[in-house]
């Protein structure tokens, strides 16, 4: 239970970090952000990199800004910092709702927004939030900066579209406007564990009618899943029990989760339906309050 031997650098600038990542002799190189998943992986020796590039000294990655209706959260912003940020609560209520489900306070004090997204655990909260909101993931590599839509970012189990020599630098989401509400719920065996199933929902109303519904699920596939059939079933409708049921059934029919020792596929589908009804109802109620 001790990390293996590796070389270590802790550059103070993004350029130096990218240079370290893209050096021809870098070998198997890994980025260390909050380390709340990565250091355990080192201790368990599931990760045995030759070089660790610690990005914790790169202060430029630790800022939260809102400009022109776009919220930009630097990848090194601590989860706890975002959880208590008034800017995040207002512009990205779904993220503020989801973060308390991540681990525990001592984990969130150190864990980062970008680290969780780049780690891409399919049961994790922040990848689900990114998928739900069609976040843009900003990556920087030796060739410059590029923006990856969330729908193309999560390519599989713990796998993303980031190249070996790229660093996730920020997450961008469109700031939530008026008449918008969000909710996040998940079921886990113990508080703080990764979810068996998690659901994030954001609803924007036009009068009493759903103008836009966004729903994403964790724990039901190899990457976060958008419930596009449920979103379509809600759009243009007034949220009531029968519409919620219809949306939940449409979403669940499209899911094919796998069974593991934490829960069977049938149980996961059942929980997904329950949580979709619950989160969409809560998000719609909050949207009405925000009109």
């Amino acid at each position: 239970m001790k990390p293996p031997v590796f070389e270590y650098v802790s550059p103070a600038s993004l350029d130096d970090a990218i240079a370290a990542l893209s050096a021809p002799d870098a070998g198997d190189v890994k980025v260390l952000a909050g380390g709340q998943s990565f250091v355990p992986l080192l201790s368990l020796r599931l990760a045995q990199p030759s070089l660790v590039v610690d990005i914790n000294r790169i202060d430029e990655l630790a800022t939260i800004t809102e400009e022109g209706g776009v919220l930009t959260i630097g990848s090194l912003v601590r989860q706890r910092q975002a959880e208590h940020s008034d800017v995040v609560k207002k512009a990205c209520p779904l993220m503020a709702e989801a973060i308390p489900f991540i681990g525990h306070t001592a984990i969130r004090n150190r864990g980062t927004i970008g680290g969780s997204i780049a780690h891409a655990d399919p049961a994790a909260e922040l990848p689900t939030v990114a998928a739900c909101l069609d976040a843009e993931l900003v990556a920087r590599g030796p060739g410059g900066e590029r923006t990856i839509p969330a729908a193309e970012f999560f390519t599989g189990f713990f796998t993303t579209a980031l190249a070996e020599d790229e660093i996730l630098t920020a997450v961008r989401v469109r700031a939530a406007g008026p008449a918008t509400g969000a909710a996040y719920e998940e079921v886990a065996r113990r508080h703080g564990d990764f979810a068996m199933v998690g659901v994030g929902a954001q609803v924007r109303l036009d009068g009493d009618v759903v103008a836009e519904a966004r729903i994403a699920l964790s724990g039901v596939d190899i990457a976060p899943v958008r419930a596009s059939k449920a979103e379509a079933a809600l759009t243009g409708r007034t949220v009531d029990d029968s519409v919620l049921e219809e949306a939940a059934q449409a979403a669940v029919a499209a899911l094919s989760p796998s069974s593991d020792l934490h829960g069977s596929a049938a149980y996961r589908k059942h929980v997904a339906g329950v949580l979709i009804r619950k989160t969409v109802a809560t998000a719609a109620a909050r949207a009405r309050e925000n009109r």
Partner: protein, 170 residues
């Protein structure tokens, strides 16, 4: 073998040491500084026994590297009681409420509750209901199933935080 020189303030005292870069902060505290009250249970961030306060925030010492603590300020459970042995109010509250059995998890619980009390003193919103305390302490595992009395102790400590003037250097 890759090593670095680091300087860390631990319980108010500056400590400089050469560490292997793969050394976790928990092992640095225990093995290099001899501060063995920070316990290691799971060594992968689940049990909470290794919780310490880093720059004012509770963090796991097993899920960060010692080299990352360079220049930072750390409080371990050894840093709470006064020099004359007077217990910190958090420790006293846990003692008054018999909040432990075997004691292995206790340092982690003390530091988590201490962190909550410090947040309260700083005027930040802090969980104070029993349900909220349970949720906040869910990152610390006790295998003697002593949670009832631990929550009692935490409740007492939080009720007193910000009102007492005795004990505790930190």
């Amino acid at each position: 073998m890759s090593t670095r020189e680091i300087t860390v303030t631990v319980n108010g005292r500056k400590r400089t040491a050469h560490v292997e870069v793969r050394r976790t902060l928990a092992d640095f505290l225990r093995e290099d500084l001899g501060l063995t009250a920070t316990h290691l249970g799971c060594e992968h961030g689940v049990c909470g026994a290794c919780t310490v306060v880093v720059d004012g925030h509770t963090e796991r010492s097993c899920t960060q590297l010692a080299v990352q603590a360079d220049g930072r300020e750390i409080t371990t459970v050894e840093g709470l009681a006064a020099a004359d042995g007077t217990l910190h109010p958090v420790q006293q509250a846990l003692r008054d409420n018999h909040s432990f059995q075997c004691g292995f998890c206790t340092p982690g619980f003390v530091m988590s509750i201490y962190g909550m009390c410090e947040e309260k003193k700083a005027g930040r919103p802090v969980p104070c209901s029993r349900e909220e305390i349970r949720e906040e302490l869910s990152g610390n595992i006790c295998r003697c199933t002593g949670y009832q009395s631990i929550v009692d102790g935490a409740e007492a400590a939080l009720a007193g935080a910000g009102t007492d003037t005795t004990g505790g250097q930190a």
